[in-house]
């Protein structure tokens, strides 16, 4: 529920009226079906190809088992995971910190149009690129290592959090704000006791969500040299060390699930 709201979906409508046959919509369905068939053919998606893949897949899976538990490998993995967590924590922290002012600037009900449009364009730009792509640029600019990953994830965090924060502010109930303004409160005080209480819970919600998402991505930026477990994973993969790949995969999944639990808890506290 919180997540639905965090990503801006409307609440499900309680519509019960069965619509009469809607021809334009039906045509759209048919069009979509034809498109799917056409697109699949251009991508060389065929049963033969899938059939060829299945034994390959079985072979692949067989080589994954048992997971590699050599001490050296585990230690290497632990280092990588720690670095991924560090990247996630720092990028979430600084990303959110920078998103607060940016989101405020992007809120159309508080700022003049030229300010909010500039801020919105900037967040749209930040949001457009997958963190791994942004990481490529930072690796070039500041070299291999965790910092490139952190900066890449900060960019992504700002793209999402600023947008959601701005939307939360735009949905603020202005009657409540006006009532606070009518007491003679300063702008800062109106912000603190009129606007923040209305957006705080949602904000905590999507910040927790972002921590989650940054952790997932922090395991991937290593593929392009952005630090974290991704480097070890990709190297093992390219060397066909599939048993070690499997160990790392299990660890990543475990960490992601734990972080999901943490993020649920955070949301509960700040409800």
């Amino acid at each position: 529920m919180t997540e639905r709201r965090a990503i801006g979906l409307p609440p499900p409508a309680g519509r019960t009226l069965a619509l009469p046959v809607n021809w334009p919509r039906r045509l759209a369905y048919i069009g979509l079906a034809f498109y799917a068939i056409y697109a699949a053919s251009t991508l060389d998606v065929s049963l033969a190809r899938i059939a060829r893949g299945l034994p390959q897949g079985a072979h692949f899976l067989a080589r994954m088992w048992p997971p590699n538990t050599e001490a050296i490998k585990l230690d290497l993995m632990r280092q990588g995971l720690m670095e991924s967590i560090e990247i996630a924590v720092l990028s979430t922290f600084f990303g959110i910190l920078l998103s607060l002012p940016l989101g405020l600037l992007a809120a159309r009900n508080l700022m003049p149009p030229w300010v909010s449009w500039t801020a919105r364009t900037l967040t749209a730009l930040f949001r457009s690129f997958n963190s791994v792509i942004v990481a490529i640029l930072f690796v070039k600019a500041i070299g291999f290592g965790a910092l490139a990953g952190i900066l890449a994830l900060i960019v992504g965090t700002m793209g999402f959090i600023s947008k959601l924060f701005a939307e939360a502010i735009e949905e603020v109930d202005l009657k409540q704000v006006e009532a606070v303004r009518a007491t003679g409160a300063s702008f800062a005080n109106v912000l603190i006791m009129g606007i923040l209480p209305q957006v705080m819970a949602r904000f905590a919600g999507f910040s927790a969500y972002q921590l989650d998402s940054n952790l997932r991505n922090s395991t991937m930026v290593g593929i392009v040299g952005g630090g974290g477990i991704g480097a070890a994973l990709f190297t093992a993969y390219q060397r066909f060390d599939y048993d070690y790949v499997f160990t790392i995969l299990l660890a990543i999944i475990a960490i992601v699930m734990v972080s999901e639990l943490v993020s649920v808890q955070i949301r509960k506290i700040f409800q």
């Binding site: 979906l9 409307p10 967590i85 457009s128 792509i133 500041i142 910092l147 997932r216 993969y237 506290i269």
Partner: protein, 267 residues
């Protein structure tokens, strides 16, 4: 009025609430401090960062426009196909799983739990990881990319769909059931109309996300525009990298415009 009232102490939250918040803040600070102290940052790299960044931008512009016709255009079309087919694939898998996960539709706790687990598991494996897996099985190419996008999206689509199903108002469903309608028509006449707007919202949102996600698949051999990016980057042709990035940005913006237009029409 009595003086005792004047001595009330007022605090914003109950003790437990304050404790919970305090713990949350403290852990956040502790986590940030720990991370900042232990993360390895090489200061020498930082020193020439401004120069390197300036150099990067200088090499990017002007774009190598000829690269668009040679590589990027076909890769771009492939990316869009991957994202769209992947989304359709995800929906095909997610709908039955969501039905199993929704507690008001499937009364079995065990089935709910299994379905929820599948949703969580598919989601917690990153698209790139799925791509690695499918590249190993089917070899590099768009098929692997499409499957990666599809499998990773199952969790997202399924979870939101299950939530929408669970929030369906009971009254119309009960009324249908009272008429003795078979389960299939309860689904199509009772639940579907109620969740349809959410369904399209979810599908569009995921498609939008998948367009961005599929741009990166090529880095691990999953096809699409990421391949063009990877080639250019490995060859240090930054003017080509710049072009690819600009194309990705343009596509993302267009996608966003399309989805928001459709969303306004549909919902």
């Amino acid at each position: 009025m009595s003086g005792a009232i004047g001595q009330h102490r007022w605090q914003r939250f109950s003790v437990q609430q304050r404790l919970a918040r305090f713990t949350a803040y403290l852990s956040a600070v502790a986590a940030v401090v720990w991370a900042a102290r232990s993360v390895e940052i090489i200061p020498e790299f930082l020193a020439d960062a401004p120069a390197q960044t300036a150099d990067l931008f200088r090499r990017m512009w002007p774009f190598d426009w000829s690269y668009y016709g040679r590589e990027v255009h076909a890769a771009l079309i492939e990316t869009i196909h991957i994202a769209t087919l992947g989304t359709l694939l995800a929906i095909a898998f997610a709908v039955p799983i969501a039905l199993l996960a929704a507690r008001n539709i499937t009364p079995s706790k065990t089935l709910n739990l299994i379905a929820t687990f599948v949703l969580v598991a598919t989601r917690s494996i990153n698209t790139l990881l799925w791509a690695l897996l499918f590249v190993a099985i089917f070899g590099p190419g768009a098929l692997a990319g499409m499957l990666a996008i599809g499998f990773h999206s199952i969790g997202f689509v399924g979870k939101l769909l299950a939530e929408a199903l669970e929030e369906t108002p009971r009254a119309p469903i009960d009324a249908l059931r009272a008429t003795g309608a078979p389960p299939a028509s309860i689904l199509s006449k009772g639940y579907w109309p109620a969740v349809e707007p959410s369904f399209w919202g979810i599908a569009l949102l995921r498609w939008d996300i998948n367009i961005r996600e599929s741009a990166v698949l090529g880095l691990v051999g999953g096809g699409g525009i990421g391949m063009a990016l990877d080639t250019a980057q490995n060859n240090l042709y930054w003017d080509q990298v710049g072009l690819v990035l600009a194309v990705i940005f343009a596509v993302v913006i267009v996608t966003e415009i399309i989805t928001s237009t459709i969303r306004e029409r549909l919902i």
